[in-house]
């Protein structure tokens, strides 16, 4: 918007200059060429390999990747990510609300900065921190005698517990701008019309927040679905996950054709992640429209 104003004044000069200089798109070309090579080639290789069966094109890899242990791992990943994302969203919302509602600048800054750090604290260090805390020889496991009560970190629920460590902060970061957008006037207006706190949340706040909440949920799902390092460092292959399955097929003693199964599984993942983005982007746009208005 602001660019339009000065443009009118200097347009004649600028256009005279523009005729003499190289066209602007030249500066974009290196980026596009780079992306075509560094991203396009691997993407093509995934497609090509997924559909190649013994030198011919076919869909056997894809159908195989949706059967037996591969299907189990894919479903395992979806189940884990869905549960972790749901819990992360449910727990992240009250935390964000507690921070936004407190009106304490100090608390807000501290929690948001910490969330920025923790949302990025995935991977190997996170896995090791939890192993040191709740693993078989972990500090809490030993001191509280958790082992006798059947606690096992290297399990489905153990992974959920660990994933929440970066999913909850991610939710806080995602939902805080939306919570900031809830105007105090809306709450006052609801109260003046006789609404209770619950009614305000049910009929005003949650409908406004809904796109952001759903968007956050989907984002968390995608983040958990793609996670590999944490699971690899923690559970090895005790829990069937599609990322671990792909890594096994890639680095193990690769049988002929197994690599193409890995590529077919990768394609499955890309499709799921693409679906996630297809849901997330419109939701984000929608919530942005509401809250900027």
């Amino acid at each position: 918007m602001t660019a339009a104003l000065p443009r009118a004044d200097v347009a004649p000069v600028a256009s005279a200059k523009r005729r003499r200089r190289a066209p602007g798109w030249l500066a974009v070309v290196p980026l596009l060429v780079f992306a075509a090579i560094a991203f396009g080639l691997p993407a093509f290789a995934i497609l090509d390999g997924a559909f190649t069966v013994g030198g011919h094109y076919g869909t056997t890899n894809l159908t195989d990747s949706l059967q037996g242990p591969y299907l189990t791992s894919l479903l395992g990943s979806v189940k884990l990510s869905a549960l972790a994302a749901l819990l992360g969203a449910l727990l992240g919302l009250p935390l964000a609300q507690a921070v936004v509602g407190s009106r304490s600048r100090w608390l807000r800054e501290a929690v948001l900065t910490a969330s920025g750090v923790l949302a990025n604290f995935g991977g190997v260090p996170l896995a090791f921190a939890f192993v040191a805390t709740l693993g078989n020889a972990g500090v809490l496991t030993v001191r509280l005698g958790l082992k006798d009560s059947g606690w096992n970190l290297y399990s489905f629920w153990g992974l959920v517990l660990v994933y929440l460590y970066f999913l909850i902060p991610l939710m806080v970061l995602t939902i805080t701008p939306a919570l900031d957008g809830l105007r105090a006037q809306w709450r006052e207006a609801a109260r003046n019309n006789g609404a209770t706190g619950v009614q305000y949340w049910r009929h005003v706040a949650l409908p406004v927040l809904a796109p952001s909440l759903l968007g956050g949920l989907v984002l968390l799902f995608g983040s958990a679905f793609a996670a590999y390092a944490t699971a690899a460092a923690m559970v090895g292959s005790a829990v069937p996950l599609v990322t671990l399955q792909i890594a096994d097929a890639l680095s193990g003693n690769v049988l002929v054709g197994q690599e193409n199964i890995a590529l077919a599984l990768s394609l499955d993942m890309v499709l799921v992640a693409g679906l996630v983005m297809a849901v997330y982007l419109p939701l984000q746009r929608r919530s942005a429209r509401w809250l900027d208005a």
């Binding site: 660019a3 602007g24 798109w25 260090p125 909850i168 995602t174 890995a262």
Partner: protein, 273 residues
């Protein structure tokens, strides 16, 4: 009227603090307290002399610097050009920079592995084969830089877009040009200083990404920092936890520095979404 901290708010914050602080505290305890042997800081003092620590950390830092340089060299001119002369390419660039979000790192590396196989399989008689060998040089694997640049594109795009949106690029460049600056001068002396925050933001995000990256490096068989922590964890549990704690502190310091420089406004861009 400032609202008080109601009891449920305290409960929520308390529980969150418990969940997020206990693993960190317990990790520190784990590294210094060996059951039956008392307190010892060996896990920390031995880090520097452990095989592979220095070389893997250096490799990670070199990869990070190369990645930052390449991604900024590619993205800054392109993003500025989009604002000046080629607005119609904007959706193209936006899509290209968002596509890596749809391909999880593990799928991306599966694709890279099979591209690298083309080298010996099909290209062994062509000069391209030399290129394939060169980019996989273990002392500085260029292929990792290529992969990390791709993975950083979405974050760098968002950071630079936010920075450029806040200034009037066209007016700045035209002012510089009518004062006699050449195109590179206008870019370097007029535009870049005005998006310093966004550049730092993009740089820090890329740094954090590369330092923590595990998936691609491990599956391609290289040993930068994160892979080294993983490998050490097998034999020396205490030290691997000690390094994990330290690496968290370093990330914390980096992002705090970022919050200080960026004025805290861009923090939501830090999320890996």
């Amino acid at each position: 009227m400032a609202r008080r901290l109601t009891p449920w708010r305290w409960a929520v914050l308390g529980l969150a603090a418990l969940y997020f602080l206990v693993p960190l505290g317990a990790s520190v305890v784990f590294t210094v307290d060996e059951p039956g042997r008392g307190i010892s800081f060996d896990a920390y003092t031995k880090i520097l002399s452990t095989d592979g620590f220095v070389s893997s950390l250096l490799l990670s830092l070199e990869l990070a610097l190369a990645t930052i340089a390449v991604v900024l060299l590619l993205m800054v001119p392109a993003m500025v050009a989009l604002r000046l002369g080629a607005p119609r390419l904007r959706p193209v660039v936006e899509i290209v920079c968002s596509l890596p979000l749809v391909v999880p790192p593990i799928a991306f590396v599966a694709g890279i592995v099979s591209v690298l196989k083309w080298g010996p399989d099909q290209l062994s008689r062509t000069p391209l084969f030399e290129t394939f060998v060169a980019i996989q040089n273990p002392s500085f694997p260029v292929v990792l830089v290529l992969a990390y640049v791709v993975m950083a594109l979405p974050f760098v795009y968002r950071a630079l877009d936010a920075g450029l949106r806040a200034i009037d690029v066209r007016t700045l460049v035209e002012a510089a040009r009518s004062c006699g600056a050449s195109w590179p001068q206008a870019l370097v002396r007029a535009v870049l200083p005005n998006i310093r925050g966004a550049l730092l933001n993009a740089g820090f995000l890329t740094l954090a990404l590369v330092l923590g990256e595990f998936t691609v490096a491990q599956l391609l068989g290289y040993q930068p920092f994160a892979v080294w922590i993983y490998n050490v964890g097998g034999s020396q549990a205490q030290m691997s936890v000690a390094v994990s704690v330290l690496s968290l502190l370093v990330t914390w310091a980096l992002l705090l520095a970022l919050a200080g420089v960026g004025g805290g406004r861009n923090r939501t861009a830090n999320s890996r979404g």
